[in-house]
Amino acid sequence: MITVKLYAYLRDNRGKSVELSYEEGMTIKDVAKALNLNLADVSIVICDGKDDIPSRMVDHPVKPDSLIHFFPPVAGG
């Protein structure tokens, strides 16, 4: 199973963590779609330790046991 972790207001109506079934050729774009997640609301994607902005991660391949994090724009210090 693919595990997807969501943070801050991306949790609204989705929860903290969602498990998805893997399908051949799946990418980050497909995962976001399955979660009804608009990537414009996402600031950072981390997939199996690789982190980047959504526009550079949309076609990133997902593995059957991938751990994916979606973060909205957040900051602090």
Partner: protein, 595 residues
């Protein structure tokens, strides 16, 4: 004179004299104010080699030109002195309202000299300034002291707690109870002078060069801050602790005194959990539309905070997953007036010393300081605040503690100041800022987490080395300007150098560009460097703890990496116009007007 009040109060506690100096407007513009102007004045007036807790040290409370103006976040001030924790220049920033109130009382800053024979406090009511007996508040906690000295809604109280009185080198200067000029031990310098508090009352206004343009700038800046998803949504909703999860997901949330970078219970101590379970209301600083400040309540305590760094220090760094205990620790740090970062990091260092068998002779009074023991953590925090038992040994920070057991390497410090909540093994640029920060291990002298982790303004590869020295230099220079202006660093998530130039021009009457802003910041950075060099620091101090340079991260997305400082530092020196010894070249000093 616009933006500035034109007056600096000079108080000599040895001679019990009070006088008012005229502000040199040209000097003020050259060093902007706050951090820059305060450092220039301190450097001109003290020998950087002095003992920081001797009467020879001075402590300067300095506003920026935007403090007290209607500019969004315009209320921050700086405390500048020689640090008793690190021996470097100390400039510690605080929000709240006290800084703005000092402008409303008619002063850009206060220079405190000498040492009083007995505890005193300073009461400022515009032109009436008195040195008063503080025996009735000496020994009292910060909240009670504030309540006793607070007279009315036009009064603001800055005070130290028992930490500063007892010369703890991690002591903070507190204002409005829970706002802290937290880092570098500035509260101990007040304590060494027997100065308990500064109470300020005033209702004057700051003159603006172009009121109409300032109004337009303020509207534009406010809109940018509100429209920006970080300053308009993320920070107001969750506070700075919203960072816990993203830092952990990158494997750089320092855990058990930087022995690891992944904390399994990160979500339990996150900003999301804080908002869900303990947040009472937002607690904004003066004129701040962001309102990242938290007011929280548990069964035991209530008050301001905790911030992200505090949650990390008492949380994952101590292996503690109990958010209520972390909130409690934050509360007592504020009450004793000690820095949450150094306090938590010192407890974490003690836990590692115990883990490695160095503390077998210590009487832990039934509260063993083991990683993950929340009750013992809070117990020993109290002891640290009161300087009792083993707490007395911890009260001067992790470096003093670890050195006393011959394990200096277990102190996660740069130049004696504890590194905050991001493991540099997984953020190469940010590690360079730690190594080169003029006050030691500090995250807010060039917040490279912004581009390397958060993608602001652009997303950089966090492990990449190329171009990082240039990014670091620009971030450090811009930050030096912001810290000197009286604005909050968080505005930089939404505003850029050109925005700051426009704001400064309308308030002060200059015709600066964004490049002038950066150049002023570079000048400030270099005068701080010169102070440290004169104090005896060398290029060998621009380093990181050995663990972060030599021991690969053992787990998580950063597994296998160390910080590659040796590959970044030479280019950084070159960009700064410093020679290989880290000393500014004459050519660069002339260029910056520092010859």
């Amino acid at each position: 004179m616009y933006g500035y009040m034109g007056k600096i109060l000079r108080v000599n506690l040895t001679k019990r004299t009070i006088k008012v100096d005229d502000l040199d407007f040209d000097l003020a513009k050259k060093y902007v104010g706050g951090r820059g102007l305060g450092t220039k004045l301190l450097f001109d007036e003290i020998d950087p080699k002095i003992d920081p807790l001797s009467p020879d040290n001075k402590i300067i409370f300095m506003n920026g030109p935007m403090s007290g103006t209607p500019t969004p976040t315009g209320g921050r001030y700086m405390v500048i002195t020689k640090s008793p924790l690190s021996g470097t220049i100390a400039s510690s920033n605080s929000g709240g309202t006290w800084g703005a109130r000092l402008k409303y009382a008619g002063y850009d800053g206060i220079i405190v000299e000498g040492k009083s024979e007995a505890p005193v406090y300073l009461e400022i009511n515009e032109e009436d300034v008195e040195i008063k007996d503080a025996s009735h508040v000496w020994g009292k906690l910060v909240h009670e002291t504030t309540d006793i000295l607070q007279k009315d809604k036009n009064t603001n109280v800055l005070t130290i707690g028992p930490g500063g009185e007892k010369l703890s080198r991690m002591a903070a200067v507190m204002n409005e109870k829970d706002r802290a000029a937290g880092r570098s031990g500035v509260g101990a310098v007040m304590g060494s002078k027997n100065l308990k508090a500064i109470v300020v009352r005033g209702k004057m206004k700051v003159n603006l060069f172009d009121e109409e343009k300032t109004r337009a700038n303020n509207k534009e800046a406010t809109n940018k801050l509100k429209d920006n998803p970080v300053t308009g949504q993320g920070l107001p909703t969750y506070g700075t602790a919203v960072l816990v999860n993203v830092i952990n997901a990158n494997g750089i949330l320092p855990t058990n005194n930087f022995q690891g970078g992944v904390f399994d219970a990160a979500d339990d101590i996150s900003g999301e959990t804080l908002a869900e379970k303990y947040l009472v209301r937002k607690d904004p600083c003066h004129r701040c539309p962001i309102a990242c400040g938290r007011y929280t309540k548990t069964k035991k305590v209530e008050g301001g905070g905790p911030e992200y760094e505090t949650i990390w220090a008492f949380g994952s760094d101590c292996g503690v997953k109990d958010l209520e205990a972390i909130i409690e620790a934050n509360h007592w740090c504020n009450q004793y007036g000690i820095d949450t970062i150094t306090a938590g990091a010192t407890l974490a260092a003690a836990m590692e010393l115990k883990e490695k068998g160095y503390l077998e002779d210590v009487d832990f009074e039934g509260q063993p300081l083991d990683f993950g023991n929340a009750e013992a953590m809070v117990y020993w925090l109290h002891k640290m605040g009161k300087r009792e038992g083993f707490g007395d040994k911890m009260a001067d920070g992790s470096l003093v503690l670890c050195k006393s057991y011959g394990r200096e390497d277990l102190s996660m410090t740069v130049k004696g100041l504890e590194i905050p909540a991001y493991d540099p093994r997984g953020v190469q640029g940010h590690g360079l800022t730690y190594a080169t920060s003029n006050r030691g291990g500090c995250h807010v002298r060039g917040y490279m987490i912004s581009p390397e982790i958060l993608g602001l303004p652009d997303k950089l590869d966090r492990m990449e080395l190329q171009d990082k020295p240039l990014w670091v230099k620009i971030f450090q220079d811009l930050t030096a300007f912001i810290d000197s202006s009286g604005l909050c660093l968080f505005t930089s998530f939404a505003l850029g150098a050109d925005d700051y130039a426009n704001i400064y021009n309308a308030v002060v009457g200059t015709e600066w560009t964004g490049d002038d802003v950066l150049k002023a910041g570079e000048r400030i950075y270099n005068i701080e460097r010169q102070f440290n060099l004169a104090a005896g620091f060398t290029a060998s101090d621009d380093t990181l703890p050995e663990r972060l340079l030599k021991v690969p991260m053992p787990e998580g997305p950063t597994k296998g990496h160390v910080h590659q400082l040796d590959k970044l530092l030479p280019e950084y020196y070159q960009l700064r116009g410093w020679n290989e010894m880290g000393i500014p070249t004459q050519e660069r000093l002339v260029e910056l007007g520092l010859e």
